[in-house]
């Protein structure tokens, strides 16, 4: 049953996923708590044309992806601080524009259409040492940032109007959170691709949010869940010969659905039993 995990490329994929689980557990919780799920998805999608551009022009893909994701995160972050509606609409428009630009660049400018699928949905079983190093570096940076800035992210999100009176006048912690969202999106790209980044960055944290009521326990539960979902996803993918990124996303989605249903039913059952 555990035979797939004896294959070197599966082991490398597993290491990558365990590192990304740390990222999902720490950064993912802040993304969910601060309502950044859609911008996170957008940042990952925005990285796509950056990757195509890097591929076509011959520079590091992570750099191109990060540049584009960062640009997107800042644009959305700035718009998010403004009042009024239309913020989500604009995020969606930029997201579509990013995907369309990527496709046009890939098919008509650089003629690299063959790699589009792996850029959009990841290629977990073809992961290389640089991908693992990037995931490890981003996981460490996120852990350190959570340790140092977690209280500020929490306080600002809890009551933004009171944050300045509590000594949080600098916009730097929130800006750094956006940079981390962009970094996190880029780190997940090689594993699950631009379109499925939220399967790691948002879905596990959203799942455990239903059953946790403190930040530290929530983050630990999310790390454990993301690691379990990733491991199960790889195993299914190898056994069923299915694309790993999509398989992990399906597993994560199914677990979320089960937990959400259980969460909705438990109070009713308890009430009926009482």
């Amino acid at each position: 049953m555990l035979e797939p995990f004896q294959l070197p490329f599966v082991q490398r994929a597993l290491v990558e996923l365990l590192l990304l689980a740390v990222l999902a557990g720490t950064l993912g919780c802040w993304i969910v708590l601060r309502g950044l799920a859609f911008p996170a998805h957008g940042a990952a999608a925005a990285a796509f044309p950056g990757l195509v551009l890097a591929d076509g022009l011959g520079f590091a893909g992570a750099l191109g992806g990060f540049g584009a994701a960062l640009l997107f995160a800042f644009a959305v972050g700035r718009l998010g601080t403004r009042r009024g509606e239309g913020h989500d609409t604009l995020t969606a428009l930029v997201l579509v524009a990013a995907l369309a630009t990527g496709i046009v660049l890939a098919s008509d400018v650089f003629h690299s259409a063959a790699s589009v699928e792996s850029l959009l949905f990841g290629s977990l079983l073809a992961i290389g040492p640089p991908d693992v190093r990037l995931a490890a570096a981003v996981a460490v940076v996120t852990l350190a940032a959570t340790w140092l800035l977690g209280t500020r992210w929490l306080t600002t999100g809890f009551d933004p109007a009171s944050a300045p009176a509590l000594g949080i006048r600098s916009k730097l912690p929130d800006t750094l959170l956006l940079v981390l969202v962009a970094l996190g999106a880029v780190a997940t790209l090689s594993a699950v691709g631009a379109l499925l980044a939220t399967a790691l960055l948002v879905v596990p944290a959203a799942t455990t949010r239903l059953i946790s009521n403190r930040i530290p326990s929530w983050q630990l539960a999310t790390i454990a869940l993301a690691a379990a979902e990733g491991t199960l996803g790889i195993w299914f993918a190898v056994e069923l010969n299915a694309p790993p990124g999509a398989t992990i996303a399906v597993v994560a989605g199914a677990v979320f659905a089960l937990v959400a249903i259980g969460h909705a039913l438990v109070p009713r059952v308890a009430k009926a039993a009482a």
């Binding site: 708590l33 140092l148 209280t151 999100g157 009171s162 009176a165 946790s212």
Partner: protein, 257 residues
Amino acid sequence: MSSLVAARDVAVGYGSAPVLRDVTFTANPGERIAVLGPNGGGKTTLFRALLQELRPSQGTLTTTGRCASVPQTERSRLDFPVSALDVALMGTIPGRAWWRRPTRTDRAAARDALKRVDLADRAERTYGELSGGQRQRVLIARALVQNAQVLLLDEPFTGLDTTSAALLEELLRELAQEGRAVMIATHDLEQARRWDRVLCVNGRQIAFGVPAETLTHDVLAQTYGAAIVTLPGEDPAAPHHAILPPHHHHHDDVPPH
């Protein structure tokens, strides 16, 4: 007795035109001061100036001792995964370098503050699950953790039942008695009459003084304008009895960003 807040001819606002002007008052240790005014009249702007978030465009505003705000509880996220202790701990942020995490001393201070507001046994409870009155007291604890000498409360009695309101009023009396100045934005005239001073604002300061002398029909008419309802009184010395209609509790004097 030296005052904790002294304002002289203060004008303050967000852009070129002040939202509030002609503000001259003092807040002394031990005083509870009702801040009366219509929504949009400048109460929040005054508090933001006291918190040094806004600089007066005119006049002088001196504060000795730290001012801390106690906002309305609905303004905070009730769905956040935080305990009462976590919220009280937020009050330790101003005293700490940004790279430092809360220390054991910080936690002890937060617990002490929760004890001071009679919530020692609720420290580990989730903030959003507490009652409105308890949440308000947690936010007061957060202000006490900051060693605030001046407490600025924004309509703290809104939505509280009679028992919680009585508990809160007693707590505010004690906090003032311990040497703090407590400024309370409110629409409740009867409550304001029980406190030490009233400050009436409506774009400018209308009046400041002890309630019995200050809360005249004229002052209230200027403060609340057309929103005031008057009933004929039997007392010839006070021929009109002023009644204020219920207010919404929006912060409409904060302009859009």
